[in-house]
Symmetry: C2
Subunit: 269 residues, 2 copies
């Protein structure tokens, strides 16, 4: 068997467009979820139903378009696990937001080639905001190329909003003390949890997003989206859990803000 | 001069509809702010420009419809200060979000009659979400009546998201210790600052919103919106400042969550 060849720029551009089309499909499933707003019985049952329907639809569409590609998602077993191409899916990231009708949840779609992300999409069905990137081809938001400007050297870091996940995730990652120190060190730390915080960092609307204790499908698209926009990502922790899965803690954002967080708050992490 | 007569239900309903129309007008001004996304020079200059244009347009429209009514807003001097009817305006609440292009800012429009709020509107131009209420006539979101269910007695408070303003506002209100205690006491406290947090509380999407060190125009609509939906408001502090203005700290939300916060976190406030 020949060694698989890295996709060309033209192929990557086509794969990114395919991933955007997949996000358009999942957005439709989520927006039209049957009687979601009225038939809620318990948080977990509803989220499972819409989660499952969305991931099922994405898998069907990927298998139709790319029958040789592998797929890994939160809700179903992996398929084609030995393919060099692996789609990584989180149909609804931000399940608490989704079940509480907070409109900030999203869908994460990433494509890896031989273990490295080459395409990433984060889509917010209720906000109508979608970012996408392909390696070497830049980051786009709702169809337009976006670039992330760093904080100017004469501008104070305090002007930047810092987004984070919830405190309990920092506690699970062993970083509760750092989370509390950050609250005191910075005037405007906001709990923009899950992929909404990622999207704000990718678009430069916050200085940085810190997310903790994440599964692979939670982070699969974000590092590529940030780096292709000109931002920086910093892996703070990758911890193997008793169940064999790895949990990730990362910072993404404008380089000066990421460096400040690393040096001032997470120096021991 | 005769004592002014409290507006009837029919008059209140008409005033609420007028306030919704005002919000539709301000939404148009904000959405069409000239080259806002491209010509940004410094945060403060842009926000001033759009703030001023929005409040100016609202004042024109109120003066045309209700020439006898008073108007108080952030950007211009009060007019008709002795009228029993006073419109209280915050054209853009969440200025940091607005200047950072975080789509969660909003417009606050309230009408007071003899010192008590009788109509309130919070409008989110970028989200397309608008709540409105009139005293005795309930709360509406995008045209549909909404009611706020309390947390059931057998349900844990931890399931509810708690929204807050930024830490620095708690520090200004002398409640930094309480803010830090809340972070440790609850797993999912999110910095959904400004009127976006208010809207989530009004719609029951978070269990409660705690906002601190606020001006009158920041809170003018929220207590009515929450109470007409069936929720609870709790004034923690009303502090007269050296400049003569009063700064308010409040909790709004589902009754059990407000009571829990009052008893467990803000007992000394």
């Amino acid at each position: 068997m020949n060694e698989p060849v890295h996709p060309s720029h033209a192929e990557l551009d086509s794969l990114r467009k395919n991933a955007e089309e997949l996000a358009e499909i999942s957005r439709g499933v989520i927006r039209n979820a049957p009687s979601f707003s009225t038939s809620i019985k318990s948080d977990s049952s509803v989220v499972t139903e819409v989660d499952l329907a969305t991931e099922r639809r994405l898998r069907e569409e990927i298998s139709r378009r790319f029958p040789q590609h592998g797929i890994q998602g939160e809700e179903f077993p992996a398929i084609n696990a030995h393919s060099p191409y692996q789609w990584v899916l989180d149909p609804i990231d931000g399940t608490v937001s989704f079940t509480h009708h907070i409109p900030l949840y999203g869908t994460i779609i990433a494509l890896y080639f031989k273990g490295a992300p080459v395409v990433g999409v984060i889509d917010h069905p209720a906000l109508g905001i979608r970012t996408s990137a392909a390696r070497g081809l830049g980051t786009f938001c709702n169809g337009a190329r976006i670039t992330l400007a760093d904080v100017a050297p004469d501008q104070p870091i305090e002007r930047e909003v810092i987004a984070t996940t919830r405190r309990s995730n920092f506690s699970k990652a062993g970083l509760e003390r750092e989370f509390m120190a950050l609250q005191l060190a910075h005037p405007d730390v906001r709990g923009y949890t899950d992929c909404f915080g990622h999207t704000l960092a990718i678009r430069g609307q916050v200085g940085a997003m810190i997310d903790a204790h994440l599964q692979l499908w939670d982070i699969a698209a974000t590092t590529l989206l940030i780096e292709e926009a000109g931002g920086k990502s910093e892996l703070l922790k990758a911890e193997r859990q008793p169940d064999g899965a790895t949990r990730y803690t990362l910072i993404w954002g404008k380089p000066r803000v990421v460096d400040w967080l690393r040096a001032q708050i997470f120096k021991a992490a």
